[in-house]
Amino acid sequence: MSEFITIADASKQIAAKQLSPVELAKDRLARAKKLDGTLHAFLLLTEDRALADASKAEARIMAGRPKGPLDGIPIAHKDIYNTAGIRTTGHSKLLEHNVPTKDAVTVTKLADAGTVMMGKLATHEFAMGGPSFDLPWPPARNPWNPEHFTSGSSSGTGAAVAAGLILGGTGSDTGGSIRGPAALCGIAGIKPTYGLCSRAGVLPLSFTMDHTGPMAWTVEDCAILLQVMAGYDPSDPASANRPTPNFTSELGLGVKGLRIGVVRHFFESDHPVSPATKQGIDHALDVLEHLGAEIRDVTLSPLVDYHAAGSIILTSEAYAVHEPWLKERFNDYGELFRDRIALGGLIRASDYVQALRRRRLLCLELTNAMAGLDILVSASQTGEAPKIKEVPKWGNLENPSLTMPFNLTGFPAMSVCSGFGVGGLPVCVQLIAKPFAETTLFRVGHAYETATNWRARRPALAGG
């Protein structure tokens, strides 16, 4: 069996009865056991459940009743997604023994699609902060170099997908928590439009900034996963009641005639990126232009405006979510989470409201800027992953986040690998589309991925 396989390829082989879901699950479990002592991507490996799911998938395939492209595909969930009867901790001492009675809606949807559930994945505590070394479990490590950071908070998903322990997984993104680890682990990850994917049954951090979404090796695999995760959910008060498009329908159409805007000031002056990241973005733009896209520069408000409004809202809402526990069990939280969130108690109500007003103005600005465009391009991270022991505690206050603008505005955004830096770790580009235009986002990301050879390279530690 190939050490690495995408969801799209595995799906074809399973449907053709050339690949056994049981053998695939056993192979990935063996990889996880071999590598996870170094990577710490899993908080819990659910071996029995995985083998049971795989057996059922195999029976369906052999009986000629496959459920679809995810039948028999090994995935895992970030450990803020509730899983019935299976521990869900938020990577925190506060929920160390928490066993939900009900799945998150997206967990149920993915299970109903025939996926094989491999386990629960590391996160930053309650999906914020990190890396932390004072929690009941260690932080995930980057498969490209375990001395380095994965970013977060969907850190375990990033590491496990990049190392081939799973073929895809779930993440959540409140300020960049899907796109960050996707970027630093060299995979693809999409934060869909706010309201597209249910958040019901996922531990909340910030009600108006939280998004759920998939992470996988390729853009195409993300589209396949999102197809199942997306859709109206009346149990999520922010869920958008609109039809779900076919997210793979435009893969392969290319980018000829599409109009792409580049927010250069975000990554050249507002928060300058590394030469390798800049080179990767410029190369991506060259590739897309060569494929027929029209490229032009776009100017928005300074990145810090988006960052400040997003941070005030996120910190205030997260404080409101955690306030009862903060008062009763302050020291049961890890240092990073509790100190960052405690700041939320110092924000006045009027400042929170002003941030919400600023948000609307920035949404209007972004909408107007994209009126004549199909896609925006920016950076997602400033460079390669730093060493895990050198990540500053207050990085969230020191520099404006490149991902925050699209949590604040709810626009869909995706990280796609755009090469490697001087340290041999991945760099990436961020693509942004209009609300509910994920199909276009996948079209452009897929066109770029298939025109380059970055997907052929895997971490050496994982056998690449």
């Binding site: 005030i312 405690a342 108690g345 110092l346 007003r357 609307r360």
Partner: protein, 62 residues
């Protein structure tokens, strides 16, 4: 970055939260408070009166 808040005023702010902070934890937060103040200043620049919050309120109960 210098804070515009006195230690006494900061103590009062912390007391309002009801959080059980140690002296060391208070000092940690006081040290980064100017950065929070800078972010607040960033979003409280004058806006037109008609600029409403970026929220959509759906009055039906789902």
């Amino acid at each position: 970055m210098t804070s515009t808040i006195t230690p006494e005023a900061f103590d009062a702010l912390i007391a309002q939260t009801g959080l059980p902070l140690s002296a060391e934890q208070k000092a940690t937060l006081l040290a980064v408070y100017p950065r929070l103040q800078a972010m607040i200043a960033q979003i409280t620049e004058p806006m037109p009166r008609e600029a409403e919050p970026g929220l959509i309120f759906v009055p039906e109960v789902r």
